[in-house]
């Protein structure tokens, strides 16, 4: 696609973000990346069967947003949900076990990759229906408002969701009632196989916020600090009654819509385009920035890599050693009793 950006490396002022927070963001992004790369292999090996929509390339978005919110804030996610789950603090062993369809999975083997939840961590579920969780996020914000809590809720969705009618209904209602909800559009330039320009008559998604009398901003979604700063401001405003904000994060998924393939062989996108974006790897850019600023040393970096690889392998061991759900429990959890 032709959405070109200035080749910003991370250069924005970070004086108000502590080194600890910056390092934590780096670890989160790397944790998502390593997890997803292993999942890609496991899907190729048919170890993992359920459809996995990989988050590789978009790590800065989930990380930047989830680093700006509290544990009691809600995050509603999509079919491409692993990154949001990890960034919001979901247990990655339970995530891998869910992908393996095990009883120890974060959804007890009932959800698979597209339906992840961790209520204690503020993850009340992800939906495979495009735009499906956007009104849920608005509803949670309505609840917080009635309950006079200062929590906020976040709706993650892709550019494809902007074509759904419920997107308009949800943003309108949220703005009408000044609800504490943040709309995070992860514009990865494709809606399944369709380039964004083939889907939307107006591809500047952030501008659509005007129609709802709501602030709309576009940020470099591969720059975790830019995302973090935009989210922090939006969340502060929402938390204190100024109403919702739409943030469009320009990013790119390195793999296809679903599964490990990069889709180049299918002619869905060009090698040049993919190369452009892999050169703008959100993790590598941030890593270089942290090292340049002296926030991360080479030895620390190696240690983090080692720890994350170990941790990721442990999730696989945990999943494979976990039991499958009891077939006798097929009909349990239909109703809460």
């Amino acid at each position: 696609m032709n959405e070109k950006h200035s080749d910003t490396v991370v250069t924005r002022t970070v004086t108000d973000i502590s080194s600890v927070n910056l390092r934590a963001m780096y670890v989160t992004m790397l944790r998502i990346r390593k997890f997803e790369e292993r999942v890609a292999e496991l899907v190729s090996q048919k170890e993992v069967i359920c459809p996995c929509h990989l988050y590789i390339g978009q790590e800065a978005v989930a990380t930047g947003v989830c680093s700006a919110i509290r544990r009691d804030d809600y995050v509603f996610s999509t079919h491409r949900s692993h990154g949001h789950y990890i960034a919001k603090g979901g247990d990655i062993k339970a995530l891998m076990a869910e992908l393996y369809g095990r009883a120890t999975g974060c959804s007890r083997g009932r959800g698979g990759s597209m339906h992840l939840a961790s209520p204690d961590m503020g993850l009340p579920g992800s939906s495979a229906i495009v735009a499906g969780t956007i009104p849920l996020a608005v509803g949670a914000a309505l609840a917080f408002s009635i309950q006079k809590k200062d929590s906020v809720s976040v709706a993650f969705f892709g550019d494809g969701a902007v074509s759904e009618g419920v997107w308009y209904e949800s943003l309108n209602f949220a703005s009408l009632n000044k609800l504490p909800v943040i709309f995070i559009c992860e514009n990865n330039l494709y809606s399944t196989h369709m380039p964004i320009a083939a889907c939307l008559a107006e591809t500047n998604i952030y501008k659509k916020a005007d129609a709802f009398n709501m602030p709309g901003v576009r940020v470099d979604g591969n720059d975790v600090i830019a995302v973090f700063k935009a989210a922090t401001k939006a969340i502060k405003d929402a938390r204190y009654g100024k109403g919702p904000v739409l943030i469009e994060c320009m990013t790119y998924r390195w793999r296809g819509h679903v599964g490990p393939s990069d889709d180049l062989d299918k002619g869905l996108r060009s090698k040049e385009e993919l190369d452009y974006w892999t050169k703008r790897c959100p993790i590598r850019m941030f890593e270089e920035f942290l090292i340049r600023r002296g926030i991360l040393s080479e030895s620390e970096k190696i240690q983090i890599y080692t720890d994350i690889e170990k941790e990721t392998e442990e999730t696989i061991t945990f999943a494979k050693e976990s039991p499958y759900p009891d077939p006798g429990g097929l009909l349990s959890h239909r109703f809460k009793s």
Binding site: R108, Y168, K336
Partner: protein, 351 residues
């Protein structure tokens, strides 16, 4: 909204519920007053409850069921909405996930097709899909507005569509007593409950306790005992069935009438025990015949060992497989009534 012109007989206080304790203060009030009173009392007694939907602050849109609520509870808990059925349904589901107990009203069921994604894909699946960790305690209240020459898109009775979906409960109270008791039960239930009423019922009166009480979801009620044939009826068709029973009594046929009250879970035992006794079954439902509630009940009886107790084929009295017409001349033959139930009974009972 024109009400129907035809006036069938109210059956009065033939409701006898063994759960009802004598200590309750009974009054005679209308169905619409029963709903209004329930909303007042539930909003008063549980701060998690709020009402949301199109027209909830209008004096007429939801048939006076919400009169006075805005004055007492304010716009924070009486939320009138734009016509965004799917979005607003999702908003209510999201609020339920965040600890609230929304009563979501769709003043015309026909518009619930817009909301099917949030009802069927989201509310219904949420408890199962996350292994029982989350639940959606929401009352989805849909109102049937048939008759009055309102034609195909302002008149539909969609109970069977909702009963088809795993994860939803479906109730259809026919009396003011059940309107209150089932609304309380729906709001208190931890799961999504589709609560369906019919404008034709709104002016019917009956004995209703002043206090809050629940009618159990999943339990039908025997309205009239009889030995010759069982008529299982839903919602407004309970009154038509009762009228049919009274007419046939004079001709010597003793009809047993069951008010199903809950379509899901279905009170199989009540139906089976009755059919075991009478050996004949007629099902009267205001939805379409094809794949409808009557078809489901017929199949359950046919699959069970009650089948061999049947002395005659099962009969269904329901809407034909056609959209609702506008002209009252066509409506007259479209909507089934007591006479259709009588004809069905006469086909299987030899007088």
């Amino acid at each position: 909204m024109p009400r129907k012109a035809r006036i069938p007989i109210p059956v009065g206080s033939s409701v006898i519920d063994s759960n009802l304790e004598q200590a309750y203060k009974m009054r005679r009030i209308s169905y619409v007053q029963a709903i209004n009173e329930t909303l007042h009392q539930m909003l008063e007694s549980d701060t998690r409850v709020f009402v949301i939907g199109q027209g909830v602050t209008s004096p007429w849109y939801v048939g006076t069921t919400t009169v006075g609520l805005i004055d007492q509870f304010g716009i924070e808990r009486m939320i009138d909405t734009p016509v965004s059925e799917n979005g607003i349904t999702g908003v209510a589901v999201g609020a339920a996930l965040a600890g609230m107990r929304p009563v979501l009203v769709h003043p015309r069921m026909d518009f619930m097709y817009y909301a099917m994604d949030q009802i069927a894909n989201h509310a219904a699946n949420w408890h199962y899909m996350f292994g029982g960790q989350l639940s959606v305690p929401i009352t989805i209240w849909g109102i049937i507005n048939r008759g009055g020459e309102q034609a195909a898109q302002h008149s539909q009775a969609l109970q069977a569509m909702f009963a088809h979906i795993p994860g939803l409960k479906v109730v259809m109270p026919s009396t003011p007593y059940d309107a209150k008791g089932l609304l309380v039960a729906s709001i208190k239930d931890d799961n999504p409950v589709v609560y369906i009423d019919d404008r034709w019922l709104y002016e019917y009166e009956g004995e209703v306790p002043e206090e809050l009480y629940s009618v159990p979801i999943g339990k039908g009620i025997l309205k009239k005992e009889g030995k010759d044939v069982t008529v299982v009826a839903t919602s407004y068709m309970v009154y038509e069935a009762t009228e049919a029973a009274e007419i046939l009594k004079k001709e010597g046929t003793d009809v047993e009438v069951i008010d199903l009250r809950s379509l899901k879970p279905l009170d199989e035992n009540l139906i089976f025990n009755s059919v075991k006794k009478t050996g004949r079954l007629v099902i009267a439902d205001g939805g379409w015949k094809t794949c409808g509630i009557a078809a489901e009940i017929s199949a359950r009886v046919a699959e069970s060992n009650i089948f061999k107790r049947l002395k005659a084929p099962i009969m269904r009295v329901s809407l034909p497989d056609a959209p609702a017409p506008a002209s009252s001349a066509l409506e007259e033959v479209y909507y089934p009534k007591a006479q259709d139930i009588i004809l069905a009974i006469k086909k299987i009972v030899k007088v």
